[in-house]
Symmetry: C2
Subunit: 707 residues, 2 copies
């Protein structure tokens, strides 16, 4: 992937001509419907495209039944979109011709550009410049184009449309890779997914996955989007699109592969090696409520579930089953994925057992194979679960019975009627011929053959609901940490500590003050608890003179101690010259953490927190977020650590001050964000967390190198 | 599940009458092919069963075209197998009648026995007693029967045979759950799996999953077995079956669900809470080379791969692809699963790039979509990978092209010919109509739509190979630790330490000896390094008198120190009475571990090792095996810990003595095994591992309660 900073940050309206052109020219048109220049024409015709279609080929008068033009300038009307199915060396001239014609957007199939090295890179830059001169947007090069089912727009040569178009539906698919995009398009047909828009972005010299996502989220005909990407070019657009999706309750699932983009950068700090861009990417999509799919099948299962089901209302799962084993299997899987399985109310259980003594209607509600002898049991138990169970999601194991000639139709009726108007996601585990599956899906019921996959899909719906709910929660106002000025030389530990102290993160410091009022001020700055010591060259044994006070926990204690100390010392050592009181932090026992920020080249500042020592070094147990984070969000980062129990007090240890850690993480993230142009990374290692408060025992700041 | 200790430990030959009867009676036969008593008859007829089939029903003369008998005694010839499709209350009488007739095995469909509580339990015990009296084996009750494709034996009413029988093949399926078994049987048809035997064991009052597994492993017509189980009844048979499978190179994949059987037992020691029966079960199947499937789909993918592919020779994976993205996706997934992706040799890469400049033939070997313009590239690159890559497994991403009317047939030819005679597992990622998929499968090539699932299946083949190789590695001879005699009272720490010391595990101990020779003996027993101190009531300041030697690392040092010490002390304190030399262990800095054993009620003694403190308490980072384990196996248990780096020396620490830990784990496992009838659990916590040697700082032994 080419990381180009010059990509236009276009608004999705700019992509209207790409998805909804009124007129399309195919440059390099072919009469052979199998060839690159012939396929799009054949697809346009099959899809019943309503706009104008102009084949361009100097050697023919007619192509696939359409009048053919010798060049684009010969086309009588306007051309919104031009497809370039020509050799890479001919592209520059063709783009110029398109520019002169007033074309708005080009779909550039041709390969041999940036993906093949230096020479191709130069050629791609040349093409970009021409396009930019004329204000033309480019999809590609080295892309397979797109398909829009809404209007039959098919500027693509993907073989994924060979066997026919996907069924109508409200799913959008976006993919960088052409070959993989074809695979996804074909899969959408074998998996009965209704795909209305599909696009492959290729080299992304201009139009990116993020822009396409924003376009689809803005589109009225798309509810659910799946993205396959190898790198993120426009994180700001991606974030905007994800925010819009979350606000609109549209599900986005993303599959991202590939090695870390920062991997090649010199790893200058510990934090950098612990974050890396995949962690930053994960942080981004977590933050904005998209779902990460780890396999292609998982992406399709999530798309299937999200496109068929109503929005989940929570994560309480009710399991109806005719097999005890299958019930346990799903219960185990569900709990592992964070769903809960509350039992049915006792009184209802008693009623159901009375009706069906062999049943075990707790949750899973196991009605046993008895259901086949006493069919109304199925509906009655489902009804009880809907009315009395308080479940947010439902799953029912009925295996091949749903496809059985004897029971199939009856079950379909019971389930469709049972779930009607409930507004709950409902998955059946079963096997049936395609036409029966379609009837279930028409009733808004998912059907899975594998129980574990069903549970994964249901848990994805629950996660989406949480994300949608978070759309309404603001992060709150962030305090202004302000610009700091960095030393021009390498930043010393002391300087680093002074800088993070300015951000309000406690560092060990000591201050000499005159009296109680100043002592309190100093202690407030240093952070409680503090130590107080008398300052005097004339008193060698301070303790005996009443000149030491340890563990002063708050302002009142400091004030009281200061007054008392000055009085006592004066009484006991009347001849000593007193220079003041030293206020220093009391660094107690505690747990050490590591907190850091790193300027990710793509995502900008990210912040991470982990437990120190083996936890970060051996177990890589860290939590990463895009910066800045609120103290609330920092707290949930900390709570997501595997070793969090260590902070909550295990083995008789006192718990440490998680709020103070969260505050430090939040402040550090603000420092990094508000000084993004100057600071490359910050690392506090260790940050000692104590029963009350935290303190930075060491700190390192790397300045951004001048560019 | 009922845990009955009285199950017969039958040899698999005893199941011959169950799988291969010559004559079958259906008690409770029905003319209606939809009813429980009608289905088996209809299936027997459809399957073309060659043996004799006798419907039994007092109300009919003929059923489904067969002569019907009023009762079993009226049947003229012998009856090997009787199916009981009658109410539970009629079962006892029917079993008696079967006994009088000389029936060898009964398939007992009826429900209402142990699975419904006390009353059913009593009835089941009664039936068992009658069967036992007559020497009849029973499958069930509450089971769905079985299917044997070899001879058309169908004593089952599963709806999984409704749509037809599974295709011919060499896969066996064993399932406890009837409903889930039906699901699996149906899935085997949708997934094109050749299943020759299927059995559902139900309540397992007699015949268990483990016995059926042994029968299938012994069978010439089965190569690959999938088991679905909820609990293990006969671990000794399961182990025997798994050993046979491993020795015969037959793949076994097991899906086990359900809550821990020891969960309800009082958790008496730390070890018990860290192991639990799922961990013991995992330890069992790891030890004997079966594969654990975590989802149903994974089980089918493994069965599909193992039944189609030759045995893998190692874990080096070669990836051929037309999509860079798909290549990276598979490479990432493969490495995560322990496969390696060595690059093609440089010279071959250079040759391939010369031939196809757009390609990137490292590994993944990305030949790009260019392959479609220059078709021979596919075969050439595959050939190079087979001949020069040294790969053990191959996967190729060709998406819908394998089903394309244009390229499909050509690709099939290239792949079949390319892989012929290579003896390598080969998976294609692609989409094609069923008839093309079948052609690939006939050529021994797997086809997956999802790349991640393909990689999981390939990694399973590599794991199986490792397991098969281990079949030839003995565990070596275990030393005889010998019976120990436990105190009758609660065992004290000192007593526990003395007992583990007898097993050869170092405990802090001290011994008073007379001279150099005895000192060396004592030091050998205690373990090096040791401390030596002069014993004398007359010498208050031992160091000054030359009476202390620290850190004696070996016998020579001890011997030398003893001689020197006695000499020096005598010189410096000529009047002191010397009582001897105290030899004590030198307990140095090190890493603390926890090592324990636990008598699992099903599996017998198991042994576990983990790092101490947070690693076990918070991270549950422990490794569990069936006991006993050899030091070699103990070492690999230790190496599988997530925190193993801590033992290998991180952060400037010296590595600790892993061999000594392994030795202690092995010895403890022997102590537990050889005293299984007396010891419930042992725990050494902590076991301090040092640069050289280990020492048990605390030990706890719980005796088995008298029963």
């Amino acid at each position: 992937m080419v990381l180009s900073k010059k990509n236009k940050v276009g608004h999705s309206n700019e992509l209207a001509a790409l998805f909804e052109p009124n007129s399309v020219a195919i440059i390099g048109a072919s009469a052979n419907a199998e060839r690159i220049g012939g396929r799009p024409i054949s697809y346009y015709i099959k899809a019943g495209f309503k706009g104008k279609l102009y084949p361009v080929n100097p050697n023919r008068d007619e192509i696939q039944g359409l009048k053919c033009y010798p060049d684009i300038s010969a086309i009588p009307g306007e051309v919104d979109l031009a497809v370039l199915a020509i050799a890479s060396t001919a592209v520059a001239a063709a783009v110029t011709a398109c520019g002169e014609k007033g074309v708005k957007v080009i779909v550039l199939f041709s390969a041999g550009f940036a993906e093949v090295g230096e020479e191709g890179n130069t050629m791609q830059a040349e093409v970009d410049e021409i396009a930019s001169h004329y204000g033309i947007r480019i999809l590609g090069p080295n892309c397979l184009g797109l398909y829009n089912g809404d209007n039959g727009n098919c500027p693509t040569f993907t073989s994924g449309l060979e066997g026919g178009f996907p069924r109508a539906g409200r799913v959008g698919l976006i993919t960088q890779s052409g070959a993989y995009g074809t695979h996804l398009l074909t899969m959408s047909k074998t998996r009965r997914l209704g795909v209305t828009k599909w696009i492959s972005t290729g080299n992304e010299s201009d139009v990116t996955v993020a822009e396409c996502l924003e376009y689809m989220i803005d589109s009225d005909s798309v509810d659910v989007v799946g993205c396959y990407m190898e790198g993120v070019k426009n994180p700001e657009i991606l974030i905007r699109a994800l925010k819009k999706a979350r606000a609109a309750g549209k599900a986005v699932t993303i599959m991202k592969v590939g090695v870390s983009e920062v991997g090649s950068e010199a790893v200058q700090s510990h934090t950098a090696s612990l974050t890396g861009s995949d962690a930053s990417f994960q942080a981004l999509i977590d933050q904005y409520g998209a779902l990460r799919a780890h396999t292609t099948e998982q992406m399709f299962d999530i798309l299937y579930a999200a496109s068929l089901s109503p929005r989940a209302t929570g994560s309480k799962l009710g399991v109806l089953t005719i097999s005890g084993g299958a019930g346990v299997l799903m219960a185990d899987a569900a709990e592992e994925l964070g769903l809960t399985l509350p039992p049915m109310p006792d009184t209802i259980q008693a009623k159901l057992i009375k009706r069906n003594p062999l049943s075990s209607p707790r949750n899973p509600v196991d009605i046993t194979a008895n259901a086949l002898n006493d069919f109304p049991l199925v509906g009655e138990n489902l009804q009880a679960m809907c009315d009395e169970g308080g479940y947010d999601l439902l799953v029912a194991f009925f295996t091949s019975l749903i496809g059985s000639p004897v029971h199939g139709e009856k079950l379909l009726k019971v389930f469709s009627e049972g779930i009607k108007g409930q507004g709950k996601p409902f998955a059946i585990i079963g096997q049936a011929p395609e036409e029966i599956l379609e009837k279930y899906e028409a009733a808004g019921i998912m059907v899975f053959e594998d129980p574990s996959r069903a549970v994964v899909a249901l848990s994805a719906l629950a996660k989406l609901n949480t994300a949608f709910e978070q759309a309404n929660e603001g992060e709150g106002d962030f305090p202004d940490i302000g610009k700091i000025s960095l030393p021009t030389e390498k930043i010393t530990e002391a300087e680093a500590k002074a800088l993070i102290a300015k951000a309000g993160i406690p560092v060990p410091g000591e201050e000499v003050v005159g009296g109680a009022e100043q002592a309190v001020k100093a202690a407030n700055k240093i952070g409680f608890p503090v130590v107080m010591k008398i300052v005097s060259a004339d008193i060698p044994h301070k303790s005996e003179a009443g000149g030491v006070a340890l563990n002063l926990a708050n302002a009142e204690a400091v004030s009281r101690a200061a007054t008392l100390m000055l009085k006592t010392v004066k009484e006991r050592e009347p001849n000593a010259k007193i220079n003041g009181l030293l206020i220093a932090p009391m660094i107690g026992e505690g747990v050490d953490l590591i907190v850091g920020t790193q300027n990710d080249p793509v995502m900008g500042p990210i912040v991470m927190v982990g437990l120190g020592g083996i936890f970060t070094e051996i177990l890589k147990d860290v939590s990463v977020s895009l910066a800045p984070v609120s103290p609330k969000r920092a707290r949930s980062m900390i709570e997501s650590l595997r070793g969090v129990a260590l902070l909550q007090g295990v083995r008789g240890q006192e718990p440490v001050d998680i709020d103070a850690i969260a505050d430090a993480v939040s402040r550090l993230s603000l420092l990094a964000t508000q000084n993004e142009s100057d600071i490359e990374s910050i690392e506090i290692n260790p940050l000692r967390a104590m029963a009350s408060g935290v303190i930075s025992l060491d700190a390192l700041i790397l300045a951004k190198e001048a560019t």
